[in-house]
């Protein structure tokens, strides 16, 4: 990997958790000693070869890593331009990239002597990954999930319950991911002594954004090795969907200093950026403070957070990880957006052309592939992060298509 120079994009955050003006530690005093303790424990664990070795073992034998880098031949033909590869994170145990991060955090919780795990979830993939690893390590698990999401992600709710987790439906606010996060924070404030909060994305107070990024960066590190093995060189472009942005950050981070590589993040445009019903916090938001960090947020003129909308529950969040906000301002990552319609079309296209049913989240990244790939020459190498599988979304997609017929 490229060495960290003075102008590196990979040196953040600073010791106070800032990526430029973003990030930070905007939490209630009750939680402050806990996140300081967590930061300390993570710093020690990260430098401990035993911790790394144990994690590598679980990643290989339990998660099933490395995930393949797959040449999507028919999609490449269909687009008529760049050579398209999928990073197959949907083949991980539990069906998405989320497990990479949860494994690291649960192993850290065990080191810290914590005996109770809480998590928030949107689409349910982070909740399922957390419930799974809690089952494996014998820890009680409570997952907060907006009641709207409980309804539209029933298969995942059932999976979590079968895995022994308690799913608590959140009825406050917009009843989606942001409210699940509020409720998880309220639980943590109440149960400070024994509880570990396993955050699912590269957001929240420092050290979460950096820690989750580190755990997810295995996606990009493997991709580097795999593309070099397959093509003898680095890729020319990377593309991933972004809600909070953990799968994207995991793919992007190891490549940030390879300046020739184009990097695209795709936000959820819901009914359209001008409809007022979307989840694109970079395209339609501005910097503010929520859930422990400063970042781009959807809000009104009074600083009140607005409800996000996306057909994809995993992208239905009015914010984005602070490091993405910084990379946006630095111009290193280009942010695009895909509507519900575009995502569902890509979901169908990928299923029919490649025999891979993608998660609706990943379908947002796929939705932007044809327009970018078709303008590139045949020797342009593009990597799409196929961050999750779509079994959980079949009901949502069926209902969406039905509503379009009417």
């Amino acid at each position: 990997m490229t060495a960290l120079g003075p102008n590196s994009f990979r040196t953040g955050p600073d010791e106070r958790g800032h990526f430029g003006i973003y990030g930070g530690r905007f939490v209630a005093e009750t939680l402050m000693p806990l996140i300081l303790e967590l930061e300390k424990a993570y710093t020690v664990a990260r430098a401990d070869p035993k911790y790394q070795k144990e994690m590598d073992g679980h990643l290989a034998n339990y998660v099933g890593r490395p995930s393949p880098l797959y040449f999507a031949e028919r999609l490449t033909q269909h687009c008529g331009g760049a050579k398209i590869y999928f990073k197959r994170e949907e083949l991980n145990h539990t069906g998405a990239h989320k497990v990479n991060n949860v494994l690291g955090q649960i192993m850290l919780a065990l080191r810290m002597g914590k005996t109770r795990i809480i998590a928030e979830t949107g689409a349910g993939m982070h909740g399922v990954a957390t419930a799974t690893l809690c089952a494996k390590f014998g820890l009680p698990c409570i997952v907060y999930m907006g009641s709207v999401d409980v309804e539209r992600q029933k298969p995942n709710v059932l999976r979590m319950k079968i895995l022994g987790a308690e799913v608590r439906a959140v009825e406050s606010g917009s009843k989606t991911l942001k409210d699940a996060m509020n409720e998880a924070l309220r639980d943590w404030v109440t149960n400070v002594a024994d509880t570990f909060y396993c955050i699912g994305t590269v957001a929240g107070p420092h050290p979460y954004p950096a820690m989750v990024r580190d755990f997810q960066s295995i996606i990009g590190r493997e991709t580097r090795e795999q593309i070099i093995a397959a093509e003898g060189r680095l890729p020319d472009s990377l593309i991933a969907c972004i809600g909070g942005g953990s799968n994207a950050m995991g793919l992007f981070h190891p490549f940030l200093d390879d300046r020739a590589i184009e990097i695209y993040g795709v936000e959820a445009a819901g009914h359209g950026l001008n409809s007022g019903k979307h989840a694109a916090s970079i395209a339609g938001g501005k910097p503010g403070v929520l859930h422990g960090n400063r970042t781009y947020l959807l809000m009104n003129d009074d600083g009140q957070i607005e409800e996000a909308h996306s057909i994809s529950a995993g992208l239905d969040y009015p914010g984005i990880g602070p490091e993405h906000a910084w990379l946006k301002d630095m111009g290193r990552v280009k942010f695009l957006s895909a509507t519900d319609d575009e995502a569902v079309a890509a979901f169908q296209l990928c299923s029919k052309l490649e025999g891979i049913i993608p998660a609706l989240e990943a379908a947002h990244a796929l939705a932007k592939v044809p327009e970018i790939a078709s303008k590139k020459p045949a020797d342009h190498l593009m990597v799409v992060n196929l961050s999750g599988r779509g079994d959980k979304d079949l009901d949502s997609v069926a209902a969406f298509l039905e509503s379009k017929k009417r």
């Binding site: 530690r25 905007f26 209630a28 009750t30 000693p33 404030v189 929520l290 009074d302 009140q304």
Partner: protein, 279 residues
């Protein structure tokens, strides 16, 4: 620099009693009613008035105060109106300290400099911003102190002796001790533990220590007031208000009196604390 908060706590110390600090949400259930309640609070026995600045995502608040914020926002409350409410209050009361309490984002979006100028001009005395720990002092705490506003920090059961000096440094007006690890309006505090904690904090500061989170009854207020310099009551008042709204969420003729009656009872509890303790 003496402020209304400093003067009020000094005067009460001479009286030999603790302060009753009340929390109500600005704009709950509507602007006019919340202004009328604020105006009636000092007469009912409130020594310091905390006004909530409503926010969509109050991470440290329990269901009662969450719902109060939702009602206020639904009725059109915003930062401009909250500051207007303080300005109106000041027209008839120049002595009772007013503290604004809430979360950072609405202040950040209003603009820190503009907010401090407008808050000071409106007659605000202090700020409590839940999601600004000392690690983020440069955001608002230091500018607020510079502009002559008190910045009141929360100390909690998780704030150990090593961390307390950092929390108390740059705190002014009073220290707000959160009596439980939890959200507002949750478990009732244990008066014995609170007394120990207040003693611990007082080893590190000369500032008055007010105690809140979970205080609901006159009896609890009395017990806390034996050790603390102030007792904060919020969720109980907000709940009392909610209980007398009609089905459309509108205030009725008895709404204000219901709140002030509870404040009077709490004030009585606070006032009898030391005399009972001394017997």
């Amino acid at each position: 620099m003496t402020t209304r908060i400093g003067r009020r706590f000094a005067a009460l110390k001479k009286e030999g009693r603790a302060a009753l600090v009340t929390f109500t949400m600005a704009g709950d259930p509507d602007y006019e009613t919340s202004l009328a309640i604020a105006k009636a609070l000092p007469k009912a026995g409130a020594d310091v008035i905390e006004l909530g600045m409503p926010f969509t995502d109050p991470m440290a608040d329990g269901p009662a105060i969450q719902a109060a914020g939702v009602r206020a926002l639904a009725a059109g409350q915003n930062m401009i109106k909250t500051l207007a409410l303080v300005r109106e209050f000041r027209k008839t009361d120049d002595a009772t300290p007013v503290v604004l309490m809430g979360y950072y984002n609405p202040i950040y979006i209003y603009g820190v400099d503009r907010f401090l100028v407008d808050a000071k001009a409106a007659g605000v005395d202090g700020l409590i911003v839940v999601d600004l720990p000392p690690e983020e002092d440069e955001e608002l705490c230091l500018p607020a102190l510079k502009s002559g506003l008190n910045f009141i920090r929360l100390a909690t059961p998780t704030t150990d002796d090593k961390r307390l000096p950092a929390v108390l440094n740059n705190t002014s007006g009073f220290v707000y001790y959160v009596s439980i690890t939890g959200i507002t309006g949750a478990a009732a505090p244990d008066a014995g533990k609170v007394s120990t904690a207040v003693t611990r904090i007082k080893r590190h500061t000369k500032l008055p220590v007010a105690v809140g989170f979970g205080v609901r009854t006159a009896e609890q207020a009395r017990a806390i007031a034996e050790a603390a310099d102030g007792v904060v009551v919020g969720s109980a008042l907000v709940d009392a208000l909610r209980a007398c709204l009609d089905k459309q969420g509108k205030a009725g003729s008895g709404t204000i009196k219901t709140v002030t009656d509870l404040v009077s009872a709490l004030a009585k509890g606070v006032k009898t604390a030391r005399s009972v303790a001394a017997e």
